[in-house]
């Protein structure tokens, strides 16, 4: 090697430069995808958010921050924010704990475990629209004794006719039902992330705890729960982002109703961008939501990192 350098055929500098070129060349496809499918749309959205573009016209006017001001001054839009947060909090709570307990069950060794893991993961592969369509039939209200959804039919069969109702049409139950349906879809992913965290916990810790007299639930809390904090962080961030971005499943289940009980902010974005031909406003709304997600994720990330560090120390 030294001889080659000495002959000037291959110098460390030339080799390094060539490596860099190769690295850049290999980066080009990914970079192109990033620019074309992410950077360009995002920068275009930012640009449109300062205009009154209606989505049709070939021209638009620069209107500074008018769209951003409208977001905070329009009560129809602003009302969707608490609903969105409510949905996000419910969704995160259900899935954080639900996913954890499912992962605990799947972490046990049994010959059915692979099948069960697959079963929990399959809903994630189904389109949100299909989920909405199927579950709307499952939750269908009682039109008469021959015509009702599966849930109401089951309640009738077990003699609980008094509990029958219109789950998606009731202000008090609609959001809960929407969250539970979303949880059915996301439970697989959440539990798989937990499961990955659980499987790297050394068995010795459990054995030691058992010798010390710790029961199952004490082991779960003091070992499993605390050792999967990195998985918890990932899950919480993913759940938060997914919750705040939710649209198609909720739209198909309730169309934001009854009233505005399940109307999340992305429905308003679509409503203004598509139905009201205010693409500029729609873009401004999307950007505000994205910034909101960014801030929340940053805060949660910092808090979780601190917790992770505390546990490690």
């Amino acid at each position: 090697m030294k001889r080659l350098y000495a002959r000037g055929k291959l110098s460390p500098n030339r080799d390094g430069a060539r490596d860099k070129i190769i690295q850049i060349v290999f980066l080009i496809p990914a970079l192109t995808i990033f620019i074309v499918f992410f950077l360009y749309p995002v920068s275009t959205s930012v640009m449109y958010s300062f205009t009154d573009w209606n989505g049709i016209s070939r021209e638009s006017n620069f209107i500074w921050f008018d769209n951003y001001i409208e977001f905070f001054s329009n009560s129809t839009i602003f009302r969707t924010l608490p609903t969105t947060l409510y949905y996000a909090v419910l969704n995160m709570t259900v899935l954080t704990f639900g996913g954890f307990f499912v992962a605990l069950a799947l972490n046990r060794r049994s010959r059915f475990t692979p099948v069960l893991r697959l079963t929990f993961f399959i809903p994630m592969l189904v389109s949100g629209l299909i989920v909405g369509f199927v579950f709307r039939e499952i939750y269908a209200p009682v039109l008469n004794e021959d015509n009702m959804g599966i849930i109401n039919r089951l309640l009738t069969m077990v003699g609980l006719s008094g509990l029958r109702g219109n789950l998606l049409g009731n202000v008090n139950t609609a959001m809960i039902v929407v969250v539970l349906t979303g949880a059915w879809v996301q439970l697989g992913t959440t539990s798989m992330i937990y499961l990955a965290g659980m499987q790297i916990i050394p068995r010795e810790l459990y054995e030691t705890a058992e010798i010390d007299g710790a029961g199952y639930w004490r082991q779960v809390y003091h070992i499993t729960w605390k050792m999967i904090v990195p998985s918890l962080s990932i899950n919480m961030i993913l759940l938060l982002v997914n919750s705040l971005k939710s649209y198609e499943m909720i739209f198909y289940l309730t169309q934001g109703g009854p009233g505005t009980a399940t109307k999340v902010v992305n429905m308003s974005v679509m409503e203004f961008s598509v139905s009201a031909y205010k693409v500029g406003l729609g873009c401004a709304m999307s950007i505000i939501v994205a910034l909101f997600i960014f801030v929340l994720v940053t805060v949660i990330n910092v808090l979780l990192r601190r917790r992770e560090r505390g546990i490690r120390e």
Binding site: N74, T76, G169, P258
Partner: protein, 456 residues
Amino acid sequence: MKTNVLRVLALLMSVLLLTVFISACSPSESANPPANENNSADTPDTADPGEDTGDQGGEVPPGKPLEGTEIEIMHSFAESHPVFQEIATKFEQETGIKVNVYESAVATHYTELNERIQTNNVPEIFSVWPGNSVDPYIDSNALAVLTGEPWVERLGFAGAQESVYNGETYIAPFNTSFLTFAYNEEVFARNNLSAPENYAEFVNILETLKNDPEISFPITLTDNYPLMITSILTASFIYQFEPDFDEKVASGEKRFDSPEVYEMYKKVAIDWAEAGYINVDTAPSTTRMGRELMELLDGKTGLIAMGSYDLNVINEMNTENVSLLMIPIPSETNHGALIAAAGNAFAVSGFAEGAEKEAALLFLDYLMNPENNNLICKSMNSLSTFDDVSVDMPDIIKNLEKYRDNPSHGWIVWPPEVQNNLTLLTDVMRLPAGEKEEALKATLAQLHDIWMGTIQ
């Protein structure tokens, strides 16, 4: 050596990928619309209206007809696509103008149209839905003025009202859509009932049906309940007494929550539920038309609120042993009217010029002649917008034609924000009896504010 070959291959692949991405993402001004199996044979090869199109573009040479000119019509009516193709073929034989018929998907029709406007690839004629959605196209100069075209003066009430924007005709409505009620004749006969002549008779029918042990509820409603029911009944009452309701609200002369309007909403949103005419539990529901329609076909309900679009659902179901008839919406003092509006319309591109524009106007006139309009409306199970066109329709809607001249249509042009927020009325319906009235007043006031907000 091997490594170098791999590096060169990698480099080539990267360049190739980059080229593919760049070419795929750059807008192509002469791009054709996506062809599908149904219309691949007539996929248009549309020229950019802004480009020089040789002997087909620019001014029509004097003395030379439009023969050889090629235009495109873009529509989203799957059931009528063969009819449009047939008409286009006949037109080409008679005039020598080639019309490419392109069918877009109904859900993405406007998206595709907007994209084609942005990329200078607009079809010369395209379908639009009358109402609020037309305004932004006019504001964007995407629609040509059609005032003075020969078919304009033949338009009936709904068509004439809804083709005009800012004093000019911009769209050519060719069929009438409507919202009204259908009833099960067998259920009515069993209860010695006949079609109601006014609102009092209508309520009497509901009261009678309520006592029929074989049915669950007298009336069933399609999804988006509050939107439908307020549109169907309340608007019928509003426009019987206030034909210019929209203008008055917009100008601030009338409030949306005025006492008269409140009374009308109260009848439907509170009184009907209290009287047991409708199932409150299913009222704010998202169940689809099919489920409610099965109720009607099975004789478990007497009436259903439905629109002309829903006729297609009925056609797809087995209705051989069930006789259904549609009736107009009863108003306070008479048979009432159809909540009718121009259902679908065509517009000529505001960017079309020269021979293409002339050919487009000629073809539009051809589409609107009684013979072709009849064919189109029949393919859609729909009434015509022209008084001189009587469509050979199924019995279920045939009797509605006589109400076409006196439609009550205003709600169609309510601001979309108001229409979307009519769902707020579901909250009112589900409240305890004592709280409904106050909540209704508050909701109507909120809807008024939303309406006013759209004007500012």
